[in-house]
């Protein structure tokens, strides 16, 4: 696992954003390494000297970090060469999903200013994720961040994970702007049955509200990635959900069907939530077939290839980010390892061997 938060020492008064550089640089937005060993590096820049403990400069070169002196840390917010960078804009949320991988917190620290600076420094052409918590609890700030960054950096793209509870028809004129074509909204929908969806997200009326947002987003020409985590509670609704999508939500860019992550709330509820695809794949197979029949682009996330029947393996994507990807020992013998998602880093060690090398 690649560490994203590193201990750091700095005398600066406030948190700051900078790009780490191996070579001397005159850019006010970069800090250059003046000393490095295998366990720490010292940098010099506009905000004075600071030290980062952990990997040496070879691993940090080009990373964009937020250094927070008071907390004594440096956060690798956009890593050089990585295609999977996310900005956690808030930890607050107005839903409490039964399987939440990142349970919400009540406190919120506004770091939008730092995020904007970090995005402006990003490598050319990358996609930056925005996650939470629920980012659209700070909808105006999120919209503002997207507008500011995309106006200055039309080469960038954004992927925003949102529960879709806060879009209003009054947002349409803003969202219709050309620059929002660079934004994909990743939105979860767990069932075509309103009560079942509401129960999974623990919010009454969430399904109805979400569908109002879908209308707003459709009228805005927004790009939507619909996401559905497979649970024991919604497994049997999948074929009907697929027909719901084909009949009503066919304007989405992609439907992402996701296997459960063993983290957050799901960790303690694993036995009552997790669906083993090797034993119960039929409803998923049907829903994939319905979606592909009606031309809905559909992908399967976080599923090792050997858990799938051969016909449906081409729906699977190697989806788990490099910094949190893990394989079992048996996987070393597998001929498909290169194209397989593997498991999440936090997948229980005793379950890593639930594979059959291909």
């Amino acid at each position: 696992m690649i560490p994203l938060m590193l201990p750091a020492v700095s005398d600066a008064e406030k948190p700051f954003v900078t790009r780490l550089s191996k070579n001397r640089t005159d850019s006010p937005w970069e800090s250059w390494c003046i000393e490095s060993s295998e366990s720490q590096s010292v940098f010099s820049g506009e905000n004075g000297l600071f030290q980062i403990v952990g990997p040496g400069i070879q691993d940090l070169d080009g990373d964009i970090v937020i250094v927070t002196p008071a907390a004594g840390n440096a956060e690798r917010i956009i890593r050089a060469g990585s295609t999977q960078n996310s900005l956690l804009v808030t930890e607050r949320c107005d839903q409490l999903c039964v399987m939440c991988s990142q349970p919400p917190k009540k406190t919120h620290h506004d770091r939008f200013g730092l995020f904007v600076q970090a995005c402006l420094l990003a490598d050319n052409g990358i996609t930056i994720g925005i996650t939470g918590g629920e980012p659209t609890l700070y909808k105006q700030e999120v919209f503002q961040l997207l507008e500011t960054v995309l106006k200055a950096r039309p080469d960038l793209k954004f992927h925003v994970l949102t529960n879709g509870q806060h879009f209003e028809t009054s947002d349409i004129s803003q969202l219709r702007q050309e620059l929002f074509r660079k934004v994909v909204w990743g939105i979860p929908l767990y069932s075509n049955d309103a009560a079942e969806h509401d129960e999974i997200v623990a919010k009454t009326g969430a399904y109805e509200r979400l569908h109002q947002s879908f209308d707003t987003l459709l009228l805005s020409g927004a790009k939507i990635e619909l996401r559905t985590v497979v649970l024991q509670t919604n497994l049997n609704s999948f074929p009907a959900l697929a027909r719901h999508i084909a009949g009503l939500l066919h304007f989405i860019e992609q439907w992402s069907v996701m296997q459960l992550e063993n983290i957050g709330f799901a960790r303690n509820r694993w036995d009552s939530l997790y669906v083993d695809f090797r034993k119960s794949f039929n409803p998923i197979a049907q829903s994939l077939d319905v979606a592909s029949l009606f031309g809905i682009p559909t992908k399967l996330f976080n599923v090792p290839l050997c858990h799938l029947p051969e016909f449906h393996r081409n729906f699977a994507v190697n989806s788990i980010s490099d910094w949190k990807q893990r394989f079992g020992e048996k996987c070393l013998m597998c001929s498909k390892k290169e194209t397989c998602s593997g498991f999440f880093e936090w997948h229980p060690a005793e379950m890593l061997d639930e594979v059959s090398p291909l």
Partner: protein, 470 residues
Amino acid sequence: MEELDGLPNLRSRTVSDRHIFANEEGRFFKGQHDLLSRIGSNELSDQELKFLQKRHLIKSSKLVKHASLFAQARRKTNVEGLEYLILVPTLRCNLACSYCQVSRANENAEGYDWDEATLGQITGLIKQFSGRSLKIEFQGGEPTLRPDLISAVLDAGSHIPDMTAVICTNLQRLDEEILTIFNRENVQISTSLDGSLITHKAQRTQDDASTSQFERNLSLVLKRYGPGKISALPTVNPNDPPEIDSLVEAFVSRGFTSIYLRPINYQGFARKQHPESIEQSGHWGAYYSKFIHRLIARNWDNRDQVIEETYFSHCLNRIFKPGLDRHVDLRSPNPVGVDYIVVDFDGKIYPTDEARMLSRSGIIDLTIGDIATGWDSPERRALNEASTNADDPDCQNCVYQPYCGRDIIDDISRYGRIDLRRHETNFCKRHMSIFDLAFSLIYSNEDAVQYSLRHWLGLSGDSITLGESI
């Protein structure tokens, strides 16, 4: 029953005693014969109402209304710039098939190839092409008579990231120069194979020497490149069609799993030598249906291999999936001179290959421009104003309209006019019969039928119900 807003605007058709209903997006289901009148008089059963609501066929919310508008728009062809070039480097040919679609020229005739200026204009057009993807099809005449012209065109497109070429050839000539072109990774070979060699000889090659030359060369390219690089298309005389199994076997034994069954086109020589092809009477429909059923039986008997009829698979897929608008024979609107053009041996530009043949035969001049001066012409605009099924009153009431298309060139070719009642045209009759066949199969209870249909639709063989019923 409560009063409902947005009751569905359904069209209906009875196919094999089944009552099919579809809305303007092309979403369909099977229901009771009197459904429409009961919608009108507000007498739907709870079960019917629930089905229509669950399938979002009742426009009960803004989202349903807007999503429906979006779905209707997606059924309309969406093309912007050029992505497909059909090129005729020479009109000369080394065969003289009885139904040749063009007024071909003799192999030794002069003045039937691109001249230097025309070649320069075509390679200039390709060199300036700035899109991502371009498909080039070499037609004839027999393009392999001029490998130098083919190579010059391919070299001009070397900057295009995704360029593919198809060379339509009778495979009579196959020497090192031709093989060097075929060796290119982005080159596909397309040929005609009318079934057994006896049929092929009777309809095309005429003599034993040419027939065995063709067979040797087809085997050679198949062995050298595999069936993935080659497609073969049979032309069928509807009044004397080949025996189905021997036709299928001619393809399957060579490793082809897609067969594109084409009736003799009412074009070129065929107008004189096969005048009956002006109307593809019931013969063709009956043969076609028998052919599809035979494939279904074969696929069920041998699960290792799924054989398809290319056009039927395409029509079937269009029933379910919006946006399949790159097959220019079946789409609406069907804009001409936008995403594809045909450049003839003399640099003249035609909207389609059929239009080129009509013009060559002296029926009507359908030139829309030439390579020297361009093709954004009044002629093109005139054709495009009519090239849609959207405003046709017959089509507006047809359950198949969202899946179907418009081919005004075919109308002009057969009838000399485009304002016939739609259902009197060959295009309409042919597609009504294909879609009727498709729907009778979609609602068939036979496992064998469902198995083939699912595979033709790209699904696993044993999974879902294709046609829903109230």
